[in-house]
Structure formats: structure tokens, C-alpha cells
Symmetry: C2
Subunit: 348 residues, 2 copies
Amino acid sequence: MHVAILGATGVVGQEILSVLEQRDFPVTTLRPLASPRSAGRTVTFRGRAIAVEAAGPDSFAGMDVVLASAGATVTRELAPAIRKSGAVLIDNSSAFRMDADVPLVVPEVNPEALPAHRGVIANPNCVAIILTVAVAPIHRAVGIRRLVVSTYQSASGAGLAAMQELRSQARDVLEGREPVPRALPHPIAFNVFSHNAAIGPEGYNGEETKVMRETRKILSDPDLAITATCVRVPVLRAHTESINLTLARPLSPERARALLAQAPGVEIVDDWERNLFPMPAIASGRDAVYVGRIRRDLSQPDGMGLDLFVCGDQLRKGAALNAVQIAEAVVASRAAKVPAAPAEVAHG
Amino acid sequence: MHVAILGATGVVGQEILSVLEQRDFPVTTLRPLASPRSAGRTVTFRGRAIAVEAAGPDSFAGMDVVLASAGATVTRELAPAIRKSGAVLIDNSSAFRMDADVPLVVPEVNPEALPAHRGVIANPNCVAIILTVAVAPIHRAVGIRRLVVSTYQSASGAGLAAMQELRSQARDVLEGREPVPRALPHPIAFNVFSHNAAIGPEGYNGEETKVMRETRKILSDPDLAITATCVRVPVLRAHTESINLTLARPLSPERARALLAQAPGVEIVDDWERNLFPMPAIASGRDAVYVGRIRRDLSQPDGMGLDLFVCGDQLRKGAALNAVQIAEAVVASRAAKVPAAPAEVAHG
């Protein structure tokens, strides 16, 4: 496969490179692309340094797959050129996620949505990916009527600069200096704050709106009642979520645990004795979505409510890994329908 | 007033000393007490160094008020001696909080509970104090049917050693060393973890059980449906809470904001334009409970659900300040019924 990485020098782009390598993705050509500012830098793939090119409309000729993590505006601009090239765009930005003809895919949750793509497949918001991997088995088994989620989101969701800011501010505080916010609007070291995405007319911030809408789309449940509160915490790269469920039909915590133990992409960490549950110190750098604190919600009728505590690496399952899993599914579907239809026709 | 501070060298004891000083509490004698290990150290009050004595049954003679923050076991042991001395015990531990004849008081919320005390008044759990200051005005106005809370609790709740551990682990991580947990069971720097209180038979940890029971008692609402998920975050001293409410009668966010703006002990920080909301960087070292992100919960019928984001200093309103406010109420009630009844009789 001829693979372009759009946003190759960013924190997600870097993680995509290492996931492609670790999972032995069938890469024939790798083309790292970034903004003109980053052109000329190199990235390392399979031990080789490859020069980064400035991304433009001509960057995609001959590519099979474009893995993009370049932000919504840039991706929107370049999407027509990518479509024209015949490459499949797997986009990590929010640009196309809610478009009716764009599948929004978490391979463990809704792989059935993928084949309908018309050249663009969207990688969901990181919180929505981690959330749906954890709750989809319960949703399938008994239905979820309402979901309340509060997040503990790491700095990596705001990029490399925010991760560096967390480290440098932590040093400032330890050495008695006032931390100065630059990449993020408020101090992140030794602080937590409501996610800084802009607040919409109903009082939800943009991150919360993404989580709510995208979760409904991934679970194919437009009626799912959901409210999210998204919060940044001084953690480097894994997102944690406190999830409260109101179920449509009864489910015991024991049965929920059994369902989740068999669920793809899920690891149970629920050791009541040792007080060991999902946390960034476990999930960082790993692929699974960790689920624990699986317990009956005592505020709801017996069997009708559950509490969960979930953690997943935002850069891996929340971004790069999920995108590469989508690319793997694209490769598998191409292999299944050889000879491939001409790209222009297939992509409408 | 003759005032003893039990646990004077601990982080809450230290904060009690500074709150007494700042609020100009009418202290005639101050007797700092601690474990034999800390005896001989000094604490500073109104610029004077005062020697700390080892606490024992004979420590309370002549005292009017004992402000205790010494843990449940020690306080249980010393309580009979305190009662016998005639002093009023204002206890920050969980020892007596759920006893039927012990008022559990947040002065802004349920001052009416205080006069019934029989020598012991309990200071609630820090999360429950901050929670009830924020939700009591709504509970009074329209009733709360169900409450879902997820917390972001600072290291201070686990004492001075945990605060020091957060700082030293942060330094370890920045300098490339593996953080070693000692005071807390898991790494706290750059991590979050489910609160380490022991897990009970239904899967809730001890902190969550306290929050759930105490909130019902403070609000005098034994039927309130409540579920809590308590989580430690790498913050030094303020606790944040993400609160979801199901209301008994409709209330708009605008009306909720107006109620809260007038509520004692509450400061509204809810600036949608500037994306400025309650956070430890605002609340640390301050007295108010900060409330923001006041919005309609879109997952519930219009007017029947609200989301709130709340932050308060755990050491001040969550512990020392609330205890001193209780002591002030005790002083006021004594002044009101001069000449005071003999202590032995008053305390049964």
C-alpha cells in the first residue's frame, strides 16, 4: 500500500508511524506530509529517516490511503484533491465525522458501517472511541437508555505543545514559579479545568457536543440520551471516563463484567481487593480500553443502572491505533474484491 | 473561648489555626494537641510559637471547644474524655458522622441541625460539604430526585504526606525516574486513579459511601437517589466535582444561576465567552464553593435536569473553614443563652 501521513510531525502523526510499524502494516511507500513550516524535517519509519514534504493538492497522486491528523480546516481544503487521487482518506479531524455519507468507525463497535464509504472514513473523537468500545457490548445486550459521562482528559488531546506545557509548568510550580499558560488557556500542571473547546448556545463545549453526537452515530442510536462533561487533567496521554448508564432492560454487574471480558479491545481491570482499576499509569502506551469499577448504580432500580470507570490511551486507541485499524479493514476489503473497481467510480 | 486543636500538626490542623486567626475567632487559650510523636513541636498562632502536647484523656480540662482532625480511631478513643470535660467536640473524622444524635453540619445548608447536639458535632466529608453547598439551594427550591457525581479530588484529602508525594513524584517523572508510591497506593503525579478507600460489598469505595450517606443526612433527604464515583487527581488542595441532577420539579438554568448567585458560600464562575469556570487554580486558598457550567442536561426532559461543575478548597471549606464556622455557631448559641447551662447537663 502507498500510504500518506498528513500531519506526520504532530503527536498523532508520530503515533500513527509507530502503530503502522508495530502492526506490520503493508506499507510499500510512505509519504510523510505536513505544513510548509515542517517541510524538510524527517520522520523515522522502520529505521529509515524520510523527509517530510509540504502538503498540497499534488501530494496524493498514487497513494492508496491517506491517514490524516491535520485538523479540520486543512483536511477540508485538501479533501477534494485526495478524493480525486483515488486514495481513501481516513481522517482524524472532526471535518467530516457527522456527514451522512461518511462512516464514523470504531472497528470493534461498528465495522458494518465501513464498506459504505465513498472515499472518506472518519476516525471519531478520542473520548467517543474509548466510550463506545466500553459500552457497546452493554448497548447490544440490553440497550442503553441514558448515559452520563464525565471525563479526565490528558494534555495529549491538545497536541505536543500542550504535553510540553504540562511538563514545563509542573517544573515551574515545583521551583516556585508561576505557571504561564500558552498552548492551553489555563494552567494545566496541578490543576484541572473544563475542556477549553468553545461553549455553544446550550452551554455545552465543542468537545462535549462531539462526544454526544458521535457516540449516537457510532452506536447507530439517534435516540440515545447522553450528557457529557469534558475536563482536562494534568496527565500526559491517557483519557479516563466516569460513566453512568441507565439501561433499557436489566443487567447485573456480574453479567456486564462477563460481556466486557469477551468484548474485543477491552481489558477488565476491576480488582476490588487490591483497589486496582483503570488509570493512565496502566493504559498509557497500550492498545486496550481498560474497564473497571463495574458496579450496580444504587441510585437506580436494581439491575437498571451501572457505573463504569474506563481508561484508554488517547494517542493510540483514541487516535492512531483506531485509524490504522480502519486502514487495515480497508486493505482487507480491497483484497476481498480484487480486481479493485477503478477508484474514481468506487469513490463516486 | 478555650480551644483545643486535636491533630494540630496535620494539614487540616494547620489550616484550622490559620482560619481561626484570619476570622478572628475569640480564642483565649489555644491548646495544640497531637500524637506523642509530634509532641514538643511547635505551631504558630497569632505570631506566637506554642508547644504541641501529646493528646490524652487529661488534655481537655477547661476547654470550651475541641476542633479535632485526628482520624476516626483516635477521636473515638478520646471522645469520652472530651465529653466529660464539657467541651464541645467538633470532629472532622468520620467517627460520629452517621450517629443519629450527632448533627452533621454545613452551616450554609443545615444550621437548624446544630442546636440539637449533645456535645459532639460532626464536620462532613469534604466532597459532601462542597457538593451540598452547591446543590442545597436547588434542592430547597425544586427538589432533587437523583444526583450523579464524579469527583476530581486533590492530594490534600490524603494528608500532608500525599501532597509531598505528589510534588516529589512530579519531580521524579520530570527527571526520568519511575515514581514510587508510598503514602498513596498508586502513582499520583501525571496520573488519576479511583479513590483508594476500601471497596465495600456493593463495589462502592468508602469515600463514595460517605459522600452518598452524608449528602442525604445534610440535606435531610433520606430518599435522595445518589451515586458517586470518587477519583484522585494530581492537584494539591482543591476538589472539583462534576454533578448531574434530576429534578423533582422543573428549573431552568437561568433560574438555577440566579438561586446560586444569592446562595451563602457560593461564588458563580460561569463565563461562557472566556471559557472560565471553577477550577483548583481559582479555588485553592479561598473560602467559597465555586459553581459553573450551569446548563440544561440535554439527556433529560426540558427543565428536569441540570449539569454543574463545582470546585472548593478541600482544606478550607472542605475541612478547616467548615469546622471553624461550626465553632462560631456554637459561640453564638452560647452567647444567646447566657448564663450557660452547666456543661455536664447540656451534654447529657
